[in-house]
Symmetry: C2
Subunit: 235 residues, 2 copies
């Protein structure tokens, strides 16, 4: 019975998440409907592309009017699997890991850290973001009992692969990796890589390519006007 399941492209999924955030904000502001143009502007994408993204969900707008904010929000949330909370485990509570554990943006989107783990005895037992840091030995048990499907790695690069192995062995099926290494995971396990220094290096390259940035630092005015360069993308 199950609908055709047309397989939504991954790039579209990432943008849907952005639309969802914008729509939530609009709904909180009491907004009733939005046009594709306005929504696209807020999300930083092309209006036509937005409509094509939304077309993967089937017709969900009204011609001549636009999209109903609350309805569209719920529709996207359903497709993204946001109606149920997702249990996550986090390994590595250094600077970055602690920041992630304390970041409110996850909980408000339905992601909950049900376990924080670290190999260092100095960190085990501490409270981070209101939750205790556990030793690695308890990882399998926590993953099994909480049915956590997502693992976040914020460890040093050297131990990221072993941690990945332990997570997948424990039953985690998706991994978000902040360690600067390419991970190898069993087939069927999704891995997404977030590499902060790579982002900076790309920016540095673009700077360099655009021009050696005149040693005298400003012929360019502060650009009081903002000549339309909306930027938005996934990460």
């Amino acid at each position: 019975m199950m609908q055709p399941r047309p397989r939504i492209p991954e790039a579209t999924v990432a943008r849907l998440a952005v639309y969802l955030r914008v729509l939530s904000g609009l709904a909180d502001g009491g907004r009733g409907t939005v046009s594709s143009g306005e929504l696209a502007s807020a999300a930083g994408v092309n209006p036509a592309g937005l409509r094509k993204d939304l077309s993967h969900l089937g017709p969900c707008g009204v011609r001549g009017v636009g999209y109903e904010v609350a309805t569209l929000r719920d529709r996207i949330a359903g497709v993204l699997g946001m109606e149920t909370a997702h249990a996550c485990v986090l390994v590595g509570l250094g600077n970055l890991g602690s920041a992630l554990a304390g970041y409110g943006g996850f909980g408000s989107r339905g992601f909950e850290f049900v376990g924080l783990f670290d190999a260092s005895p100095a960190r085990v037992g501490q409270q981070v973001g209101g939750r205790p840091v556990r030793p690695m030995e308890e990882l399998d048990e926590v993953v099994a009992t909480t049915r956590a499907t997502i693992g976040v790695i914020a460890t040093p690069a050297e131990v990221a692969q072993p941690v990945c192995d332990r997570l997948t062995a424990a039953g985690v099926r998706s991994i978000l990796n902040f360690a600067p290494v390419a991970l190898t995971a069993p087939a069927g396990v999704h891995v997404r890589q977030v590499d902060l220094s790579v982002e900076l290096q790309v920016l540095a390259f673009l700077d360099k390519q655009r021009g050696p940035v005149s040693a005298l630092g400003d012929a360019l005015s502060p650009a009081a006007t903002r000549p339309a360069t909306p930027v938005g993308r996934m990460a």
Copy 2:
């Protein structure tokens, strides 16, 4: 005079940064040469794609042998503009901002935070990562004197756009944005978005799409073997 400047695609630039990191590790290990296959494996990409990426730098390998590690590393570092340090300013020292300020991975790649800024008087004056947090009023002066070209935004979403405006007005030409909003910047200013909750939402979707994950949590064995699913990408 300047060489043809063939314009390297952005996706390639991101991967070059990854190759650079792997090569640095190999060089530190005393390795002399690498083949494209081995390097691609370590970076988590296809060997043919790696060779294509490297071809943008002109011929830099020896047929039948491979690539000289140190030479290639320096070549990539030069193209990416890594031979000179890059001055960055960071705005917003909450959990994430503090973690970024204390992250060692930036300094080792030639990025230095020359100024940390926050609007909250409670944070101004504190030391984070060995540097003092300054009030926003000093931003223009610091950007001007240090010629910082990169700005990192780790503020709440509500103030990200005004902060972006102030950074660009002060002369910053590239922005790395961690706030979950699409920024609008003047033409010529590069903005890269890193959205952590979007990453998690994409993973959740992939989980959901792949299958409702059998209520009974495991027919899949711990997968002792690792059937080759190298994963690596930019972020």
